[in-house]
Symmetry: none
Subunit: 237 residues, 2 copies
DNA sequence: CAGTGGTCTAGACCACTGG
DNA sequence: CAGTGGTCTAGACCACTGG
């Protein structure tokens, strides 16, 4: 594997920033300093810095310097960002707490989406540093979930567990009021606003293999969508 | 305003690609060609090309060349769909009813985003076949809005009216409860769920030129996001 | 004012592609 | 093989920041 200098520098800088070598909001050494310290040209140093900026870790102001980003992450590579991802990027420990694991008869809606009568239904809570931030219900065809254990679905994402190759997904984002089932586990009042996402995940042959509903308290969650071009803008005006 | 060469080149290339000068999947001229044609250094040409790749418009393969992207990573952006768009596609008549048109002092938040003290603030209602489906508030710097009339903003989208070239936007999607101002004009009860979108629109130089807040009744509206590839899926699991 | 990041040039070597 | 994009250098001028 050929060593790519700017990636090496970026990786090193990321480690140093994440290790807290520079305080949050704190200023980094200047590009000239890095040029000397890493023995690389300024262009290469800048390429490393810019890649970290794309990741939202650091930011810069002309005439001032580079500094550790305090603002919300703005991932330019990803079109859709969630609090789950932001948390993971910031090193917060996320885990899944399984509330319910059962093979059940599909409801009409679930049968309509997945096309089967018997499904594995998993209800879980997504936690960040021990605090719940999403209540998730996942359904998959009983046949596909037959070999899964409750421990499996706690340890890894469903995508990794299914014996099929995942193709893509379609997600809808809506607003709703917290029901008592949500409110109890998410520690919000009944009737408070929540974001409710319903996602249909398909395999490479475009057959639906997962249906999931994610409920996020509104005060914790926001979806960020970058619309990079004028042509995409006209779609939502 | 200083001209930034790589942004000029990027804008020109974007126009040419979107005009279909290169067929979908088709190969672009080489970097060496562009260097000659634009009279800029290869580094500058590459910076323009890379910015378009970040936008998902084009892609490259080492030893092969640059080509128009077919499986656009950013495709899902073009597929962010709203009820507004769906309505327009179905031939429903949409119109804007201006509720308020005023030059006012910017709030701290608006000033923070737009960087100016005086703004034009327009409140409007978006209607579909005569029924309201969104309450929108738009702020733009007073200087940019100086030549706009109330009739202008009723007749055409803000994007078409501003004397600047629009680059892109970043939108956040959240949930909230209807306030009385929303409830009155949207014909929903106070405290019912709404989707609340805040969008920052930038010009081609990446300066914010518009801030807008869109409030949709939850029972009328749903955002649909296609996540076409497994790699984009991992971002939201 | 000195120091900073933002842009840009004109070179260079390399890995990779396709014929 | 010739041509391509990917990386990298050592300079340069500029706009902007803060004191």
């Amino acid at each position: 594997m050929r060593e790519v200098r700017y990636l090496e520098i970026a990786a090193d800088l990321r480690k140093r920033v994440e290790a807290g070598e520079f305080s949050a909001g704190g200023v980094l050494p200047s590009e000239a300093d890095f040029t000397r310290a890493y023995g690389a040209s300024r262009v290469t140093v800048r390429k490393a810095l810019e890649s970290l900026r794309d990741g939202g870790l650091i930011d810069s102001r002309q005439g001032f310097g580079w500094f550790v980003a305090v603002d919300r992450v703005r991932q330019s590579l990803a079109q859709l960002s969630t609090i789950e991802r932001d948390l993971a990027e910031r090193g917060v420990v996320t885990e899944r707490q399984i509330l319910d694991f059962a093979f059940v008869a599909a409801s009409a809606h679930v049968r309509g989406v997945l096309g089967v009568d018997q499904v594995l239904r998993v209800r879980r809570l997504n936690l960040a540093d021990g605090s719940p931030f999403a209540r998730v219900t996942v359904w998959c065809p009983a046949e596909l979930g037959a070999s899964l254990s409750r421990a499996d679905v706690a340890a890894r994402p469903f995508y990794d567990l299914l014996p099929v190759e995942i193709g893509g997904a379609t997600q809808t984002i809506g607003a709703a009021l917290a029901e008592s089932a949500d409110a109890n586990v998410l520690a919000v009042p009944v009737g408070s606003p929540v974001l409710r996402c319903e996602r249909v995940t398909r395999d490479v042959d475009d057959h639906p293999v997962l249906l999931s509903v994610h409920v996020f308290p509104a005060h914790l969650t926001e979806f960020v969508v970058d619309l990079p071009s004028p042509s995409s803008l006209s779609l939502v005006e």
